[in-house]
């Protein structure tokens, strides 16, 4: 075993060119003489090629801005920054011009009062009670009355206007600086998106009437367009809150799915899909996938472990989309956690093949998933393949 581990380590390092001359010679001799080692090395090389072929991702354009914005809060302040902080008021930022304007208006007012105030009649006329209501144009409002607020507002506006205050300035004074969208808002955004989706499961499932009767008979839920709003309460009650992202494919393009579902008669695609789940207590147990007991390996990594061989047989084509009338595309998405599992499947193929697809869907969805065990609390895997379906011999 140790030798095998050493060989694996040697070949891995040889692949990366991280070997000395002696190790290189040993690796090359091994590859020339041992077909098993050569085969292993080829697979190693192909796997490495898959990684190398991944397109590097680009950071979201907003990342730079967000970092710099947050640094304004978190950075250790320099001397200039400290001085600015001391000068700057703790309240919402007010433009310097506004300060200057207010000072000028107050100064003018004081000069006016000092010069004329003591000698003139009061500027505000005492109330003239004629009909029990204050006379128009007077300032006799009680504290907190709407009229007083309006008067204050008008006065403030006049002061602002006198100081050359713009609408934008006013808005800045009245409201704290707009905070950048926090991460949590994305959930709210998703909720908003979800609000545009059908409000009830019944509405969401309207396009699937042909499946509903059958699905009612077992604890499996079929849906074309799922949103958080459309997730049945039963699942939420069993599993706790379900991340909307579990259903994002449908949230993202419900129209496209609806069209593929048969809404558009011209559509050449036929879709059959389902979601099924199992709780940790095993209720209800509807899927059976042959993961080894106690294993936390993804049971869906090898389709042959969960595709039932009865009645239909499958010839795996690989990935991509169906090209011929007898090909179908199978999507399997699993979310496994300690509290339960959700399996989401969809079969897509040519409309002319509808009967076979329905049958395939039935067979696929009658399997059962063993709840995940092990360290990983939650694993979500998306998997798809294209296959040719045939009657079994």
């Amino acid at each position: 075993v140790k030798d095998k581990e050493k060989i694996i380590e040697l070949l891995s390092a040889y692949l990366d060119g991280e070997v000395n001359d002696e190790e290189r010679a040993l690796a090359e001799r091994l590859l020339a003489e041992d077909s098993e080692a050569a085969e292993y090395y080829n697979r190693l090389s192909r796997a490495s090629g898959l990684f190398n072929g991944l397109e590097p991702l680009t950071a979201p354009p907003s990342l730079h801005h967000k970092v710099m914005k947050r640094l304004g809060v978190h950075k250790s302040p320099g001397l200039a920054f400290r001085i600015r902080q001391l000068v700057r008021p703790k309240v919402a930022p007010v433009p310097l011009l506004t300060y200057a304007g207010v000072v000028v208006v107050i100064a003018v007012g004081m000069v006016y009062l000092i010069t004329f105030g003591l000698m003139q009649e009061p500027l505000i006329t005492p109330p003239t009670q004629t009909t029990g209501k204050p006379a128009a144009g007077t300032a006799t409002e009680t504290e907190g009355s709407p009229q007083k607020s309006e008067a204050r507002e008008a006065e403030r506006f006049a002061l602002g206007a006198a100081a050359g205050e713009t609408d934008a300035d006013k808005a800045r004074i009245e409201q704290p600086e707009a905070e950048e969208e926090p991460a949590g808002d994305r959930a709210a955004e998703r909720e908003t998106t979800g609000a545009a989706m059908p409000a009830s499961p019944a509405e969401g499932y309207a396009a699937e009437t042909r499946h509903e009767a059958r699905e009612e008979a077992r604890p499996t839920i079929t849906a074309a367009a799922r949103s958080r709003a459309a997730v049945p309460d039963r699942i939420e009650a069993e599993l706790g809150p379900i991340e909307p992202s579990y259903f994002t494919a449908d949230q993202r393009e419900p129209e496209k799915l609806a069209e593929a579902e048969g809404g558009d008669p011209a559509s050449q695609f036929y879709v059959s899909e389902t979601v099924t789940y199992i709780t940790e207590r095993g209720e209800p147990a509807t899927l059976d996938v042959s993961a080894p007991p106690g294993s936390d390996a993804n049971p869906l990594s090898d389709p042959s472990t969960f595709l039932p061989p009865r009645f239909l047989s499958f010839e795996f084509i690989g990935s991509g989309v169906p090209q011929r009338s007898d090909e179908v595309q199978v999507f399997v998405e699993s979310h496994i956690s300690r509290t339960g599992s959700i399996i989401y499947m969809r079969v897509i193929g040519q409309r002319s093949n509808a009967a076979l697809i329905e049958d395939l869907a039935d067979r696929l969805f009658s399997t059962r998933l063993i709840p995940a065990r092990g360290e990983q609390d939650s694993v979500s895997v998306f998997y798809s393949f294209v296959a040719v379906i045939k009657p079994a011999h």
Binding site: F51, V67, A249, S301, P303
Partner: protein
């Protein structure tokens, strides 16, 4: 391959950049973020498998980098140092997500950039372009699922080597382990990935 002179020049340039940042020059730090943001985001995404989590983590990484700049020693490169911070923070994040029962989420929603169209885009489109994109998305998802099955230690080494293309020496420096450990973890990690992805190889 960079020559020793080029390496020295790059180190010198990095040192100057760090010094300017330490003096409170915001434009220098903006430059640092611009220079390393794709690298940090990629690494974060490969660890977490979720673009939103990756973006959040990337922000935290740069804040940490900024706060810890005075502890940066120029005996390692800035890139390696930032890689180390990202890796450590990604590990912490993964543990935190596990505690909350929200481990890695690999789904058809994983669409961190234009290179990754939503899988649903390719459902009814058999043009070669979308098919290739769908294939690329599928490969990424399968690879990430395979990575997910590894232990954290193996995962880190495989990501740094096979995805980020770091040398064994850089990986050892980043993770604070010796080169022998890098070799053995990488070999075992790759062997496990092969097992998981046998049908694609």
């Amino acid at each position: 391959v960079a020559t020793a002179e080029e390496k020295q020049g790059r180190l010198e340039e990095e040192r100057e950049l760090v010094e300017r940042c330490l003096k409170g020059d915001q434009s220098s730090f903006a430059e640092m973020v611009r220079r390393f943001q794709n690298m940090v985001f990629n690494l974060a995404y490969n660890f977490l498998g979720n673009p939103q989590e990756a973006e959040d983590l990337s922000q935290e990484v740069f804040l940490k980098v900024f706060r810890s700049l005075n502890s940066f020693r120029s005996d390692s490169t800035l890139k390696t140092w930032i890689y180390r911070i990202t890796t450590n923070m990604a590990f912490n994040r993964i543990k935190w997500l596990r505690r909350r029962g929200r481990n890695r989420q690999i789904s058809i929603d994983s669409n961190p950039s234009e290179e990754l169209p939503p899988m649903s885009d390719s459902l009814a489109d058999d043009a070669p372009g979308p098919e290739r994109k769908a294939r690329s998305v599928e490969i990424r998802i399968r690879l990430m699922a395979a990575l997910d099955a590894l232990s954290d230690e193996q995962k880190a080494v495989v990501i740094l080597r096979d995805v980020e293309g770091m040398s064994y020496e850089e990986i050892a420096e980043t993770l604070g382990i010796n080169i022998g450990t890098v070799k053995s973890r990488l070999a075992r990690g790759r062997a496990n990935i092969q097992d998981t992805m046998r049908d694609m190889l």
